[in-house]
C-alpha cells in the first residue's frame, strides 16, 4: 500500500476534525497542529504550576485552619492539573524536561495573571473567584477540543476548578459581609484582579495570532471575545449578590445583545505585563528555576538509587 501524500493526509485529518472525531496520540496530525497544541497545552500546564506561587504565598498565613486546609488542597489540585497537562503534552512527543526548559528560557509562556502579586488574604478570594472563574469558562469550552488527551484532561480539571471557584467566591462573600476593613479588602482585591482576569482570554479575535487556524482545527472551540463575554456576564451577577462593585464605569446591561457591555481593556498594560514588566514576572521564573536547581541533587539521587537497585537485581538474578 502506498503512503498517502501530505495533502491527502491533511484533508483526511480535517475531515475527521469536522466530524468531531477526537485525534489520538498515534494518529497522523499536521506538524503545525502538533506544535500549536504543544504550545497551548504547555502554556496551560505552566500556568497551573506557576499559579501555585501566588496562592502558595498565603498558605502559611491563612486566617483560619479551615481556610488553610482548603487553600492547601486547592494548590495541590493545581499542581495535579499541571501533571495531567504535562502528560497530555508528552503524548505529543515532548519530554517534561524539555517543557521545563521552555519555561525557564522564556520560550514557553504561562498565564500573565500570575505576574500580579497576591498582597492580601482577599486575593485568595479574588483569584479563586475570578481567575479560576475565567479559567473554567475557557476550559469548559476546551472539553470539546479536538485532541483526545487534552479534551479528557479538561473534563477532569473542570470538575475541580468549579469547586475552587466556589471556594474563592465564598472567601469574597465572607469578607464582603464582614467588617468595613474586610469589605474594603475584598473590593480592593476585585479592583486589582478584575481587568487582568478579562485579559486572560487574550486579545480581541481580530488581533489574535493563533485563533483562526486553532478554530479550524477545533483546538479552540470558541473565540476569545465570546468567552470573555460569557465570563463578564456571569461575574457581574455574582458581584451584585455579595455587594461588591466591578471597577468598570462603562459596565451596563445591553438589553438588545442580551449581554453586558463593558469598557475597553488596557491593552498597553496587557502587553507591558506579558513582555516582562509585571510586578512578579522575574520573581515567578526565578522561584521556579531556583526550586528546580535546588532539587537537582534529589533527582540525581533517585536516578543513582534506581540504577543501584537494577544492578543488584541483575546480579541477584545472575
Amino acid at each position: 500500500m502506498s503512503q498517502p501524500d501530505a495533502a491527502q493526509q491533511e484533508t483526511l485529518f480535517q475531515t475527521r476534525i469536522d466530524a468531531e472525531e477526537k485525534i489520538e496520540p498515534k494518529d497522523w496530525m499536521p506538524e503545525k497542529y502538533r506544535q500549536n497544541l504543544i504550545r497551548q497545552i504547555s502554556q496551560h500546564a505552566h500556568s497551573e504550576v506557576i499559579g501555585m506561587q501566588p496562592e502558595g504565598n498565603w498558605i502559611t498565613r491563612a486566617p483560619t485552619l479551615h481556610r488553610k486546609c482548603v487553600l492547601l488542597a486547592k494548590v495541590q489540585d493545581e499542581g495535579g492539573h499541571g501533571l495531567y497537562l504535562y502528560s497530555a503534552a508528552e503524548t505529543l512527543g515532548i519530554t517534561r524536561e524539555e517543557l521545563i526548559e521552555g519555561l525557564h528560557s522564556g520560550k514557553a509562556k504561562y498565564a500573565s495573571i500570575f505576574n500580579y502579586p497576591s498582597l492580601t488574604w482577599a486575593d485568595m478570594g479574588a483569584i479563586g473567584w475570578l481567575v479560576d472563574g475565567a479559567a473554567i469558562v475557557n476550559q469548559v469550552s476546551l472539553q470539546r477540543t479536538s485532541y483526545g488527551p487534552y479534551s479528557r484532561g479538561m473534563v477532569r480539571i473542570c470538575k475541580e476548578e468549579s469547586f475552587h471557584q466556589r471556594q474563592g467566591y465564598h472567601i469574597m462573600m465572607t469578607l464582603a459581609r464582614g467588617s468595613a476593613e474586610q469589605k474594603a479588602m475584598a473590593q480592593d482585591a476585585l479592583d486589582r484582579f478584575w481587568w487582568p482576569s478579562l485579559m486572560m482570554f487574550g486579545p480581541h479575535d481580530a488581533e489574535s495570532a493563533h485563533s483562526a487556524q486553532s478554530m479550524k482545527w477545533k483546538i479552540k472551540r470558541q473565540s476569545n471575545d465570546e468567552l470573555r463575554q460569557k465570563f463578564v456576564d456571569q461575574s457581574v451577577k455574582q458581584a451584585e449578590v455579595i455587594g461588591l462593585t466591578i471597577p468598570d464605569p462603562d459596565l451596563k446591561w445591553n438589553e438588545e445583545r442580551g449581554h453586558y457591555d463593558f469598557g475597553e481593556i488596557d491593552w498597553e498594560e496587557f502587553t507591558r505585563v506579558i513582555n516582562g514588566d509585571g510586578m512578579c514576572n522575574r520573581q515567578r521564573l526565578a522561584h521556579h528555576i531556583r526550586a528546580h536547581e535546588e532539587g537537582q541533587w534529589v533527582r540525581d539521587a533517585i536516578t543513582a538509587h534506581e540504577a543501584k537497585q537494577r544492578e543488584r537485581a541483575a546480579s541477584a538474578a545472575a
Binding site: R61, L65, V75, G79, G82, G178, H288, Q296, I302, A304
Partner: protein
C-alpha cells in the same frame, strides 16, 4: 485524679498533640512550590494537609473540653510562643530536602507507633482521632522510609546531606520519649500513650532503616529538651508571626 482534673489534663494533652501536628504541618507547607519536582511538591503538600487536619481534630477536642469561646482557631492563632507545647523536632526550620525527609522519617516512625497506642485510649475521641491518624501515618512512613533509602543510598552528595541531617536532628529525638507528670497520670488513667515505652522499638526500626540506607546512627551525645514546657528554639516565634499574622492584625473577625 478527679473527673475534672482528668478533663483538664486531657485538654492539655490534646493541645500538645495539636501543636505537634500544626507546627509540623506548617513546616511541610513551606515546601509548597519549592519541592525538587512537581510530584514531590504535591506529596509534601498532601502530608502537610494531613497534619493540619490532625491539628484541627485535636484542637477541636481541646476546645470542646475548654468550653466558652475557645475554638480550634483561638488555639492556633491566639497563643504566643511560650504557650505552644509541641516537641522541638516539629518546629525546626525545614533546611534542605534531606533535612526535611530525615526529620519526617524519624517522626513518622514515632508517630505511627504513638497513634497505634493512642487508638487504645480510654478516651474515645482521642482514640478515634488516632485511628484516622494511623492510616495517614502508615502512608507517611512508607514515603519517608523510601526517601531514606533513596537519599542515603543514592549519590555521594545525597548520602552526605542525609548523614548531616541525621546528626543535626538526633539530639532532638530524645525528648520524644519523655513522660512528664501530666502524661504519666494520663497514661495511668489509660488515656495517654506511655511514649517512654515506644523508644526501644523506635530505635530498632531506625537502626534497621539507616543500615539499609547505608547511613550511620549518630553517636554524638547531646539532647535538647523543652517543647512540652514551652521552651522553644528561636525559630518558633518567627513561624508564629507568619502563621498568626492575619488574625493578629484583624482580631475578632470571621474569615
Amino acid at each position: 485524679m478527679t473527673a475534672s482534673d482528668t478533663q483538664q489534663a486531657t485538654r492539655q494533652y490534646a493541645v500538645r498533640l495539636g501543636d505537634d501536628a500544626l507546627i509540623l504541618g506548617h513546616r511541610l507547607s513551606e515546601w509548597c512550590s519549592n519541592g525538587p519536582f512537581l510530584e514531590e511538591d504535591l506529596a509534601l503538600t498532601n502530608v502537610a494537609l494531613d497534619f493540619i487536619g490532625r491539628a484541627r481534630m485535636f484542637y477541636g477536642y481541646a476546645a470542646e473540653l475548654t468550653g466558652g469561646d475557645c475554638t480550634e482557631d483561638t488555639l492556633a492563632y491566639q497563643r504566643d510562643c511560650r504557650e505552644f507545647r509541641n516537641l522541638l523536632l516539629h518546629e525546626l526550620p525545614i533546611g534542605d530536602f534531606a533535612f526535611t525527609m530525615a526529620r519526617q522519617y524519624l517522626l513518622d516512625e514515632y508517630t505511627l507507633a504513638f497513634m497505634q497506642q493512642l487508638q487504645q485510649s480510654a478516651d474515645a475521641t482521642l482514640a478515634a482521632i488516632a485511628a484516622k491518624s494511623v492510616k495517614e501515618s502508615r502512608y507517611h512512613l512508607r514515603r519517608s522510609h523510601d526517601w531514606m533509602l533513596r537519599l542515603g543510598d543514592g549519590t555521594p552528595e545525597s548520602h552526605e546531606r542525609m548523614q548531616k541531617a541525621l546528626e543535626q536532628l538526633w539530639g532532638y529525638t530524645h525528648e520524644l520519649f519523655d513522660m512528664d507528670a501530666l502524661e504519666q497520670e494520663l497514661a495511668e488513667a489509660g488515656i495517654a500513650v506511655d511514649c517512654a515505652a515506644l523508644q526501644p522499638a523506635w530505635e530498632r526500626s531506625v537502626r534497621a532503616t539507616l543500615a539499609e540506607a547505608t547511613l550511620a546512627l549518630p553517636t554524638a551525645e547531646w539532647a535538647v529538651r523543652g517543647g512540652r514546657n514551652g521552651i522553644h528554639t528561636e525559630s518558633l516565634g518567627h513561624l508564629l508571626s507568619e502563621l498568626q499574622f492575619v488574625q493578629r492584625a484583624y482580631p475578632g473577625l470571621s474569615w
